[in-house]
């Protein structure tokens, strides 16, 4: 059994299930994220790990111990709340010391432990600061310190950066990642911000409507999404309808309609795709190329409908005949007039046509 083991957990609040037979395994020391749009069940799942909600069925175990019947105040987890929930009647020091009462530490030892924690979260010298005199970033650090000082087995973070402005959020992302490396505690983070999940996590679970669509490293989620929904949720992507013609061990021949007949590596197809299947071919904007004038290979002619200058590269919407959606292309210095798009087969991903596609 892995360190955090969630097995077949379901939860509903009287209506359809909010979390539907979810199973997850998180090894010790991992930075794990639950990513999904609001209402996908990620926060409910986190609250079940903390013990604030009880699963209707299934088990949650931490470090080999089943937690279902364990009250929140007895679980080896601590949480950073979205609102931070800093105790307004206590100063920074007493907020952080709140969860250490039962250890009955001598005064000096308590002070030393809290000073050390203050410096870990870079709040040195702010112990006497009143709760209502903290900035958003400082409140976030106090919430982190208050949870980490108890040395939990798992730290749970509920959209911890959501309340911060963009620049502070980016700075805190780097810090949070560094902090997790330093303390070595297993982090489970809930977020709807894919950029945040990708940049912080060792692995990410993408959730939608109470189910987990895919669990993978950020790289694999981006390069090897298992479904249209995941591909759509993580970054921008273009889809083309296509049909599988022939499969061999190494390659797949695909009739890709507008893009012609293509041969791609078999590994680019999601598992379970068979010959004659109707599939979706997906490609990221940065992988679509503009053909050079003397390009001899296969290309598709189109016209630039919109261009956005983004500095190092630009973003284009290219209209091609026979397709209503423009193709998103990210690249450099397009020639004037009609353009010729190149779709490198090794960058095309074959996904099953899902129920909701």
């Amino acid at each position: 059994m892995s360190f955090l083991s969630i097995s077949q957990v379901s939860k509903s609040f009287g209506g359809p299930p909010v979390v539907d037979r979810v199973s997850l395994d998180v090894p010790r020391g991992e930075f794990f994220s639950l990513l999904g749009p609001s209402g996908c069940g990620k926060t409910t799942l986190l609250r079940m790990i903390a013990g604030f909600e009880a699963p209707d069925s299934g088990t949650i175990a931490i470090d080999g111990e089943v937690m279902n019947a364990v009250a929140p105040h007895q679980r080896p987890t601590n949480m950073v709340f979205q609102s931070y929930a800093i105790f307004p009647h206590l100063n920074v020091f007493d907020n952080i010391a709140y969860g250490l009462r039962k250890l009955k530490l001598p005064k000096d030892a308590l002070r030393a432990r809290i000073e050390a924690m203050l410096s870990t979260v870079r709040l040195e010298g702010l112990g006497n600061r009143a709760a209502d005199q903290l900035s958003g970033g400082q409140r976030q650090r106090v919430a982190l310190a208050r949870a980490l000082v108890r040395e939990p087995k798992i730290l749970l973070l509920d959209e911890p950066l959501g309340a911060l402005d963009k620049r502070l959020r980016e700075a805190m992302q780097l810090e949070l990642r560094a902090l997790q490396r330093k303390v070595g505690i297993t982090f489970v983070l809930v977020t709807h911000d894919q950029e945040e999940a990708l940049s912080l996590s060792d692995r990410v679970a993408v959730m939608e409507k109470g189910v987990i669509l895919q669990v993978a490293s950020p790289r694999d989620l981006y390069d090897r999404p298992s479904s249209r929904a995941v591909a759509d949720f993580i970054g921008e992507i273009n889809f083309f309808h296509a049909t599988v013609r022939e499969l061999s061990d190494e390659t797949a021949t695909i009739n890709a309609g507008l893009l012609g007949v293509l041969t791609l590596p078999r590994a680019n197809l999601a598992p379970g795709i068979k010959s004659d299947d109707h599939i979706l071919l997906a490609i990221r904007p940065e992988h679509v190329g503009f053909a050079a004038p003397n390009f001899a290979g296969q290309s598709v002619t189109g016209e630039i409908a919109a261009a956005t200058f983004l500095g190092e590269r630009s973003h284009f919407h290219v209209r091609i005949n026979g397709r209503s959606d423009p193709v998103a292309v990210s690249g450099n210095a397009p020639p004037v007039g009609p353009v010729h798009l190149v779709f490198p087969p090794e960058k095309l991903m074959g996904l099953p046509v899902s129920r909701d596609a």
Partner: protein, 263 residues
């Protein structure tokens, strides 16, 4: 011109509100047994006579006892009801609140007579304890109003955070809910105390042989020569009441969430 008219209106309005009240302290220092203008010199003898009035002091003691017990019990009931209403989605919470608040709209004289009849039917004696029960009917709605407003600004995550940090329900109440609610609790205690201390009708019906201060004052009005002394007592009660209400308002607004400082 418009401003002057407005000023005149405001002035008249305030005069209407406060001149009658100010008559009390003014005549309490007047050196005459007759309450009439012109004033006939400054004296503190009416205040001095209060110090020697043991019947008044006994009534004052009764009022303090009734006020304190009423304040404590009403606030305790108000606290539990306010927490239930704001923390849990209860069926019929709205109706329950309405019922609790209803005594606010029942005339005190009706309330007093009903309670008198009820006590008689049950064979219970008239006493200060009966007055406390009657006052609680009037005071719980006040307590509830103050405390619900306070609970509505209360972040439920605070209690979850406390549980998350290892404290059980009772310790969470003690270490988080109670201190965060404390200004509301104090405001409720002060308001219910004042309400009970000043209440006359219900106490008049239920107190039996033990007078509270307002009943004692009512009794004194039969003796014209005692009137200046009653005025002195009234002036003291007025000052203390106003002081307590201002204190209650001040405390109630203490620690009300200030807008978060921008990041």
């Amino acid at each position: 011109m418009k401003n002057r008219a407005l000023f005149l209106y405001a002035f008249t309005y305030l005069a209407f509100l406060y001149v009658p009240v100010l008559v009390l302290p003014v005549f309490s220092f007047n050196n005459s047994e007759f309450i009439a203008f012109p004033l006939s010199g400054f004296t503190t003898r009416w205040y001095a006579s209060l110090a020697a009035d043991t019947a008044m002091q006994h009534a004052l003691g009764n009022s303090l006892k009734v006020g304190l017990v009423t304040a404590l019990l009403s606030t305790l009931l108000g606290l539990t009801a306010a927490k239930a209403v704001t923390h849990y989605r209860l069926k019929g919470a709205g109706a329950a609140l309405g019922f609790i608040s209803l005594p606010l709209f029942i005339p005190d004289i009706v309330l007093g007579i009903s309670l008198l009849l009820l006590l008689g039917a049950l064979g219970l004696p008239l006493s200060l304890a009966a007055v406390v029960l009657g006052h609680m009917l009037v005071c719980v709605p006040f307590s509830l109003t103050v405390l619900i407003a306070r609970f509505e600004g209360f972040d439920r995550n605070l209690e979850e955070a406390s549980a998350d940090l290892g404290e059980n329900g009772w310790m969470t109440f003690w270490r988080v809910t109670f201190p965060v609610m404390l200004p509301g609790i104090i405001a409720s205690l002060l308001l219910t105390f004042i309400t009970s201390f000043d209440e006359f009708l219900v106490a008049y019906f239920l107190s039996g042989t033990e007078a509270t201060l307002p009943i004692y004052i009512w009794g004194q009005l039969r003796f014209p020569e005692r009137l200046p002394t009653v005025l002195a007592l009234g002036a003291i009660i007025l000052t203390v009441s106003v002081g307590l209400v201002i204190l209650a308002e001040y405390v109630r607004n203490l620690g009300v969430k200030k807008p978060m400082v921008g990041a």
